[in-house]
Symmetry: C2
DNA sequence: AATTATCATAAGGTCAACCTTATTATCTTT
DNA sequence: AAAGATAATAAGGTTGACCTTATGATAATT
């Protein structure tokens, strides 16, 4: 069962891995980028995670969570998203700050507290940023959506979730009404990886492709 | 203003110092004991705290918090005790677990979250373990009580607060009804630092002097 | 005044997570 | 097949927060 507590760093790596697992294998470079760490550091950590059986690294192919690692990661997501609910619904914290504050609390939350919090909140299924909350057993229906960058030009869709993590980026998206529940249409995709032009709430918005990746819309 | 975030270790040292400040100067040995650390380690940390202006160390006399250090410490106490209120009143966490869980959360709580939590709770003045909650500005009316060990034999008093930190110790006291609001009488103090014999809720209880130090009673 | 206990300091280690700078290996693309 | 991009590994460092063992310095007690 191995009830050893994972360090904050380890937890953040696991969370990043589950968030980046659109495809099974995650390139270490992508992982390093997301965590704001050098590729060498990410390699070192992945080695440690492998020794703990949380991850399987296939050189030159990528990193994948093991069952154990995925379970741990889902539990971290659960904690994070439950805290987001509490912070938003009860403490009236600004939407743009939710990720940052919940990302601290998630590492300081014992299992008993997690479950009591879930009960207090009425076992919510979704967090204010649009993501599903994994159940206590780790089970978890992923969002059935696609990144905004993959939406066909001319198509309208509804934003399901916003997955940016840097508060600065979150604020940028918030200021442009790129929020769960809002409708977006891709008016134009500029060539050469250029920005998208979107229609959101009656306004035109230019958005770089990197940012568009964070926005999950209905298909 | 120096808004650098303090590490968890630093915060725990500051909290220990404010909790041990019955007399102005805290002996490094006492500090080390309370934190479960060697005296050498405590010395090293005190040196670092001194460099950050949080503490003044007078060799062979003891450590004292500076204004800056005391303000920081009171803010940590505020966070901890607010979390205890939330965990107890809203999440229905067992009384004996409050310290442990709040002691994790306290380090992961941004100022904005602290104040929103205080508002959510209705700005409570006292935590479930009986201690006053410092105000947002750090001001703080200390309990007007004495440790149970200093209560005269034969005298009855009311428990104001229980300040033990080890969950094991807290459970021991809880099982004997040594809780805020309960009445205690010291029936006998055995010689040679022997245990106290107490009368609590109609039962006789033997309690070592070390444990009695954690219980603050009315004078 | 001498003994003993506590405290301070010196010296050297460990461990997790980071870092830089090279070098080498593999994959992908031309 | 060669080039270029990405990934892995090697080597050496840093920092905070711990540790042990040993040696001086001061305070308290007899
Ligand atoms: Mn986090
Ligand atoms: Mn703590
Ligand atoms: Mn050293
Ligand atoms: Mn090395």
């Amino acid at each position: 069962m191995n009830r050893s507590p994972l360090s904050e760093s380890v937890e953040m790596y696991l969370k990043a891995l589950v968030e980046l697992s659109d495809r099974e294998m995650v390139a270490i470079g992508r992982l390093a980028d997301r965590l704001g760490v050098t590729a060498v550091s990410a390699n070192e950590m992945v080695k440690r995670l492998g020794e703990q059986g949380l991850v399987k690294h296939t050189p030159y192919k990528g990193v994948a969570l093991t069952k154990k690692g995925r379970d741990a990661a889902c539990n971290i997501l659960r904690r994070q998203r439950l805290w987001e609910c509490f912070l938003y619904d009860h403490l009236k914290i600004e939407w743009t700050q939710l990720y940052e504050y919940a990302c601290s609390l998630e590492h300081a939350t014992a299992p008993e507290v997690t479950e009591a919090l879930a009960a207090f909140l009425g076992n919510p299924q979704t967090c204010p940023r649009g993501n599903p909350i994994p159940a206590a057993d780790g089970s978890f229906a992923p969002l059935n959506g696609i990144p905004l960058g993959e939406l066909d030009t001319g198509r309208a869709a509804t934003i399901l979730a916003v997955n940016a993590t840097a508060t600065e980026v979150i604020k940028h998206l918030y200021d442009r009404n790129l929020l769960p529940g809002h409708k977006v249409t891709v008016l134009e995709a500029a060539p050469l990886q250029g920005p998208l032009t979107l229609r959101v709430d009656g306004k035109d918005v230019a958005l770089g492709l990197a940012l568009a990746e964070y926005i999950i819309v209905s298909r």
